[in-house]
Amino acid sequence: MFYREAGDFKTTYRDDNQTFPIKFDRLRYYAVLFVAFAIVPFIINDYWVSAVFLPFLIYAIAAIGLNVLVGYAGQVSLGTGGFMAVGAYACYKFMTGLDIWIGGVEYALPPINIFFSVILAGAVTAVVGVLFGLPSLRIKGFYLAVATLAAQFFLVWLFNKWAWAYNYSASGQISAPERGVFGIPVTGPSTSAWATYLFCLVFVTVLALVARNLTRGSTGRKWMAIRDMDIAAEIIGVNPLKAKLTAFAVSSFYIGIAGALFFSVYLGAVEVGEAFGINKSFLVLFMVIIGGLGSIFGSFAGAAFLVLLPVLLKNVLVGGLGWPTDLAAHLEFMIVGGLIVTFLILEPHGLAQLWRVIKEKLRLWPFPH
């Protein structure tokens, strides 16, 4: 009734091509933005921000990044954790003042504002991602997965070994000093919940918009052409070198930003093996698969599913029912695992497909043919 194209007349191509062509969708999108920017910051507290919102927003960025690579360009990657580590360590170096040693002489950059540190960290990760994406020009599928897996292990090993990356700290940990934007701290211990939340939200909003438009435009079409059949794409004039490497660059840029935020804003101190291990790669890949390959909304849905469900289950089982924590933790694994299997059997294309089906039904509601 409300959710339909009928009556919503478009008079320009621009209008016709907009992201949300249906008015109801558009309003809903503005409503979500309004709630996220203008209401949530006022009611958020420390628990909600660090248990729910920050992980959700940050994993959403990582999932969008991986979705660009796996969902849109069809290049399987298991190196997400390693690329997040690159983002985190690059951000750390930029925010504490990058020191470069040439012939025993130190050339030190002053500490860069955290906002630009995060963006620069993304750029560094993009370069690293392109380097590790080079094998994708020769190998595909499982073999590429193994090559990116090598990237994962190599990068974790590197950041454990390379003392320069963690400023020679004795423990090998990196910890974010207090940094802020406009005088309001967003990293370090004395941050307020709303500031960290808004900081991440700005990144998520801008990056999601960019990703959505990239994937709708010619770049995204090239990625999808490569994904669907690379030989055919090459014949119709898509340059596989450019398409694959841009996919790796954009994807790594996103993942790098996610890693930088994960370290600086969310955790504040990380250890590469524990925070960016192979588990992280799988977690983000699961988010993408459960959310839906080749869908920006799916990235959000997948991140929400895998971040919120454990927290919810824990609070219900331990906080609500008062069960022993170990029993609850084991059950949590079983329930989350079971739900993943169930979801994938019922809807192999992920939560995004479920959402598409609902939208189709809504269009016909209340008078289906």
């Binding site: 628990y47 454990n160 423990s171 910890s175 211990p189 004395s190 250890e271 093996g273 609070n315 933790a329």
Partner: protein, 427 residues
């Protein structure tokens, strides 16, 4: 969520009777994952001691103890979630039993005005209370452990280690890397060679490290391991027939769960400890009477008297004593987190106190002050007797080499103070 916790707390209060305010002690435990074998006994000991105080004495100073358990799985993300979900409940002191989580909590808890007690783990330089105002690591820290291990080796070699080779097998994380600086400094002083062998999380794969040990034949192996890594390392050492009496683990590599899988071959394995072992103390009779027999024992109740259970019990005892100190100093029974910090800073453990608690000779005597949050670093060496299935102390509690450690602590803590713009000093 908050509502649910509040209702739960409310129902707990109503069940407990007329107690108006509780003393909240969060327990960030891990009973799942690759570190569960070590996390369970500690969590059980921590919980059982508080249950004992509630059942026997009606809490601390008339205030019931409310222990909130939160499962971290030794994972820093879950640790943060646990911290945020429990800090609003008036939590007095955090003991996360994880160096990674401790590193997270040091700045956060300091900003929130809550104490962290990383007993024998965490950031070693937190010993300097002038910089780390809310963090305590008494009675001993990682560097004390490394130093006493070397002291023990010196004793075995009549004071001369020059030309000997010591290999450090360590968990490749902040935890395992902690002793490296100390061991390097001590190597300079005593002239032994140090070989570093990192083992990646979770530590199930150590073939190459032990192959290297078999090839290079170091005279001694020191291990900083945790969880499943310990069992694998001891098994591998048995497999290459490394003499077990030359194999010394830090206190986190010295529980029954670590040595039992290797069977009789693990006999003679040594581990450091900063408290006594066994269950031959009067307090265990009370635990049997008030906790086990009433069916209130935490977990499966099968860990009582093991090394890590004792450590959890010891941690709870020190927390309870600090709370008592705080009550005595402020004159009120319902202490706040700020009072707790004062209590911990003025904690004094004497032999009379321990004897009165039913733990005579259980740990070293020490006194905490603002300048010294880390105790005196008294550590003993225990040895595993596989036939009897128990640990036994083979040395006295000896003090670590403060000449070497104190400069390192000053250096590391001043670096932290500089990074975080903290003006060091006690007032």
């Amino acid at each position: 969520m908050k509502m649910k916790l509040a209702t739960l707390a409310l129902s707990a209060v109503m069940a407990a009777g007329p107690a108006l305010a509780d003393l909240t002690f969060p327990s960030l435990s891990y009973r799942t994952g690759p570190y569960a074998a070590n996390g369970i006994p500690f969590a059980d000991g921590y919980a059982d001691y508080f249950t004992l105080l509630n059942e026997r004495d009606g809490g601390i100073g008339g205030e019931k103890i409310n222990m909130i358990e939160c499962e971290t799985g030794y994972n820093t993300e879950k640790g943060v979630e646990c911290y945020e979900s429990t800090k609003g409940e008036g939590s007095l002191v955090y003991q996360p039993l994880s160096t990674g989580i401790t590193y997270q909590l040091i700045p956060k808890a300091t900003a929130d005005g809550i104490a962290v007690h990383s007993m024998g783990y965490g950031r070693t330089s937190a010993k300097n209370g002038g910089v780390f105002s809310n963090v305590f690591n008494y009675p001993a820290n990682y560097w004390d452990g490394a130093s006493v291990a070397i002291k023990h080796l010196l004793d075995l070699n009549s004071g001369d280690l020059s030309g000997k080779t010591v290999a450090l097998v360590y968990h490749n994380s902040a935890y395992g890397k902690e002793p490296i600086r100390t061991l390097e400094e001590l190597a300079k002083k005593h002239g032994y060679n140090l070989t570093l062998l990192p083992v990646d999380h979770p530590g199930q794969e150590q073939k190459s490290q032990w192959l290297q040990i078999r090839r290079e034949k170091p005279d001694y192996v020191i291990m900083y391991g945790w969880g499943v890594m310990n069992q694998v390392a001891i098994q591998e050492a048995v497999n290459i027939r490394f003499p077990m009496e030359n194999f010394i683990g830090i206190w986190w590599s010295g529980s029954e769960n670590d040595v039992k899988p290797a069977g009789a071959k693990a006999n003679g394995y040594k581990a450091l400890t900063f408290h006594n072992v066994g269950s031959d103390y009067p307090v265990f009779d009370d635990i049997q009477k008030y906790v086990v027999d009433t069916g209130k024992a935490a977990g499966a109740g099968d860990q009582i008297g093991t090394a890590l259970y004792n450590r959890g019990l010891y941690a709870a005892m020190l927390a309870a004593e600090a709370a008592k100190t705080a009550q005595a100093m402020t004159g009120k029974s319902a202490i706040t987190p700020a009072d707790m910090i004062v209590g911990m800073e003025n904690l004094e453990i004497t032999e009379e106190k321990m004897a009165a608690l039913g733990l005579p000779g259980f740990g070293p005597e020490f006194k905490v002050s603002c300048e010294n949050h880390g105790g005196d670093g008294m550590v003993a060496v225990a040895q595993w007797d596989a036939a009897k299935g128990e640990w036994g102390l083979i040395t006295e509690f000896v003090q670590s080499d403060q000449d070497v450690l104190q400069p390192l602590i000053d250096e590391d803590s001043s670096a932290y103070a500089k990074e975080n713009n903290i003006t060091a000093g006690c007032n």
